[in-house]
Subunit: 526 residues, 2 copies
């Protein structure tokens, strides 16, 4: 049963009078549950509990934290069909997506558990001391990563499970040893409450300290602002819009003690079509029509920009893409406001009078259902109009037609930072058109060949983080196990008693982890 | 011969009319050379050249970049005695320090060359694709670190060689593959010019692209501000004051496209004296008198704060420390302004009427020579007066006397972030006083047992970077080879043709480096 309360440690709390409801965009009506926005007191209490919990939780072994993460995954599964129906009622996303995203959420939690059990993620680096070294003794120095403290996580509108309450940011922060306070996304507060209760059950079953997790309801920006400015919050994870992420980043950077913000924001994910791709013109047109409309276009890696050099082949590809797009049935967007922003975004682009239509779904659609549209523009116009470079969140893409490879390269150079960049082509083209490939590489966090950018594999080699404004910190990924290092910092021990060092740094290497010892990568003892 | 010109790529340039001189603090007079501050045009030109150079330099092999770094070290050695005398004339630091710092500068350059030749620093991570995986093929994903682009380095007043022109920031950025533009420190512009010419010779001998290095003269803040705000500058390295570093951090964070700033700033490097240390009371008193006055107290790891619990032993230690301090002959500070700031800092602390004298050098001193002083204060007064927590740059330390372990812990908790924290004591005390050790660990980047914080070993395990305000980014070190990752970001390749991947990511592992392949740490081929 949904209570509408905040989860503050083990407490269900509803001290505030500001309430809100979530919305079912498919049925175009409010959901029944009433949520109480967290008050300043409740925020303070959650942070206070998290700070106290950190004192214990940070010292828990990888094995214990892994048990907690696995228990969370199990408890999420345990919720059963309630989670699927609630997810659908609050997001308008279809059942297959709900099940897939739930699966991915559990995969992520278990991947971090695996990482903790293996243990090498702490980057143990050891320089063994030499007391008899001339002219001076060399000190013994050993460093590894430690958790930084309570983390605030902002849930994402478009991933009610995999990037929200128990999503990638929460899983990676808990894995690192940091308590988490989630500022739940207002669009899916009930989904968040169900997942929060699963986390709480898992915390109880595995004897985690009270305050290791809290979930705060919020319909405006004040709860998030309070959290980001709270002196005891040590880092922020965010998935959402450029405006939202940038505002949080600036707030965090101008605190008395600035804290890091790992915000994954907007991206148009440029796709460069090279001539050989036209050998499979119909195939790619169909694949891209599907990718542009996947999840009703509400993915951070949605291909919002397709670039190529003018010619009969490209014209034909564009034509087929238009035909394919016209056949994609509309689907619900996450919320009427997101639907309206999508319509408005398209309107702004078309009202510029600088684009022409490639293809669009022409039929009727239910309220809040996004109708796919693809437009096209000449590269010179595109380059001169930065307003055309921005993401339109929804089933939309813009085809940029270039006069030459030089203009194609100039169009890429004009772009902002991106999560991904895709090339359709063959090896010969890649090795000949190095300046185009290189220009694209400088703009992105992931380079894809002959595929679509939607679909982000959860694995160690994944990098889901590109130059600003796609993220606020291009060094870090929010997908895959490398995401754990965001919530850590190294501490070096100098001439510490060997028996009092953390296990990861002891001579015997009791955790049997990978370390760098005197510059050598090794699993050996010292 | 010192020309006073800026080094802009291969060009010596002096287009500006704003000039300045450096100062010999030992002889208390200006040095003869006249330096031309860089103009806006010269800054733009340096950045433009660096951007062009990046296009080539970023693709150079580790071996080629290592040759360049080794050649820089050789050319610095080649300058010979001129560098030593110029260093001394501009810093007032003694000959032994000049030679030692030159040696360290070369050690650093060669350590990064070694790192590049070994090659594993790129953190290659590979998840091999599985085309036949059900229900979906698993893409092949391979990521590694790449350089981010032109870097601005701000030279440090207190390290004319090891943290300036060819110092740790420059060496690590060049190693990463990033061109460097140094904003020279105005106190040692001639030293900077000599080192710049050595870098230029090395660049020429090893066929580096024009613009891989530039050195800009500057006596005020405008050159630095222009550099930090230049759209083509991708990151900043800084060593200096909290005020300076924070200003640059805020400027960089509020750019249209924010960039990372790795600023190493102030620190008082707290030292906690536990009872067993009094068994060697005289030894530690002498060691600390030397550490406090090492380099006339002008080190970022100078022990500015000594904490202990009241008692006869502590009183005796303090008395001996006072006697030792009184015997330390004054030595030149870096500049009259730094000397004045030191005097002013001491005056502010004493004028508060809250401290009493432990010991001070009582004799006469030449102009600009810093006279060592140690004061003491009760912990309750210390905790209530944050003004006493700040660094006084020079040969000074404050002894904080606590009533109990609880008050000692409270005093530590009241501190800002620090580069280092030191404990004097034995294993038994460390294992009993866990909350004190833990409180200190949360505040620092390096925990030292039974030593002094001055002296920072250049090695892989060193972490020279603590919580704000000791640095702007506690995740990174500015000393040791790990410093290279500051100037990089990961890029992942998805389904890329194996033969077109960077060597570090190819199946054959031609560089024979450490990689993580399908989650396994290995040097093997695939």
């Amino acid at each position: 049963m949904i209570t509408g309360k905040n989860t503050i440690g083990t407490l269900n709390s509803a001290r505030g009078t500001d309430t809100f409801k979530t919305f079912n965009p498919v049925e175009n009506r409010e959901n029944p549950w009433v949520f109480h926005q967290a008050t300043k007191d409740e925020i303070d209490q959650a942070v206070q509990l998290a700070t106290e919990a950190f004192g214990q939780y940070k010292n828990f072994s990888g094995k214990r934290k892994a048990e907690f993460l696995r228990a969370i995954a199990d408890e999420i599964e345990e919720i059963g069909e309630d989670l699927i129906t609630t997810y659908m009622a609050e997001s308008g996303l279809p059942e297959g997506r709900a099940r897939g995203e739930r699966g991915r959420t559990m995969v992520q939690l278990r991947a971090f558990a695996d990482l903790l059990e293996e243990g090498s993620w702490v980057e143990a680096t050891i320089d063994v001391g030499q007391a008899d070294k001339e002219p001076m003794p060399k000190p013994d120095i050993r460093k590894m990563l430690f958790p930084i403290g309570p983390v605030a996580v902002f849930g994402a509108s478009n991933f009610p499970l995999a990037f929200s309450t128990a999503g990638g940011d929460t899983a990676s922060a808990l894995a690192a040893g940091c308590p988490v306070i989630v500022k739940g996304h207002p669009l899916h507060a009930a989904t968040g409450e169900l997942v929060s209760s699963a986390i709480l059950k898992a915390a109880e079953k595995t004897n985690m300290p009270n305050g290791v997790f809290s979930n705060l309801n919020s319909s405006g920006i004040s709860v998030g602002q309070e959290l980001v400015q709270h002196p005891e919050i040590k880092a922020v994870g965010f998935t959402g819009s450029i405006a939202g992420g940038t505002a949080i980043y600036k707030l965090a950077s101008t605190r008395e003690v600035p804290i890091p913000v790992f915000a994954e924001m907007g991206s148009v994910n440029p796709v460069v079509v090279l001539p050989s791709a036209f050998e499979q013109s119909a195939h790619w047109a169909k694949q891209y029509a599907l990718s542009i409309t996947n999840g009703t276009g509400q993915f951070c890696t949605n291909p919002g920009l397709i670039l190529g050099v003018k010619g009969d082949d490209f014209t034909q590809f564009i034509g087929t893409l238009g035909e394919e797009i016209a056949q994609i049935s509309p689907a619900s967007m996450l919320h009427p406001n997101i639907y309206k922003a999508f319509e408005k975004g398209i309107e702004v682009v078309t009202a510029s009078g600088k684009t022409s239509l490639v293809g669009a779904y022409k039929g009727e659609a239910a309220p809040n259902f996004g109708k796919a549209k693809v437009l096209t523009v000449d590269a010179d116009v595109f380059i001169a109009n930065p307003a055309l470079h921005h993401e339109v969140f929804g089933p939309y893409s813009l085809v940029v037609q270039c006069d030459s490879d030089q203009e194609l390269e100039a169009a890429i150079n004009a772009l902002e930072g991106q999560l991904t960049g895709t090339l359709l082509g063959n090896s010969k083209e890649l090795s000949e058109k190095t300046s185009i490939v290189d220009a694209l590489k400088e703009k992105v966090g992931r380079l894809i060949l002959n595929g679509v950018p939607t679909g982000v594999e959860v694995c160690a080699a994944m990098h889901h983080g590109g130059p600003f404004p796609s993220t606020t910190n291009a060094k870090y990924t929010s997908v895959g196990v490398s995401a754990i290092t965001r919530w850590t910092r190294p501490v070096a021990y100098q001439n510490w008693p060997l028996e009092l060092l953390p296990e990861a740094l002891q001579n015997e290497n009791p955790l049997k982890i990978h370390r760098i010892v005197d510059g050598i990568h090794t699993f050996n003892t010292i």
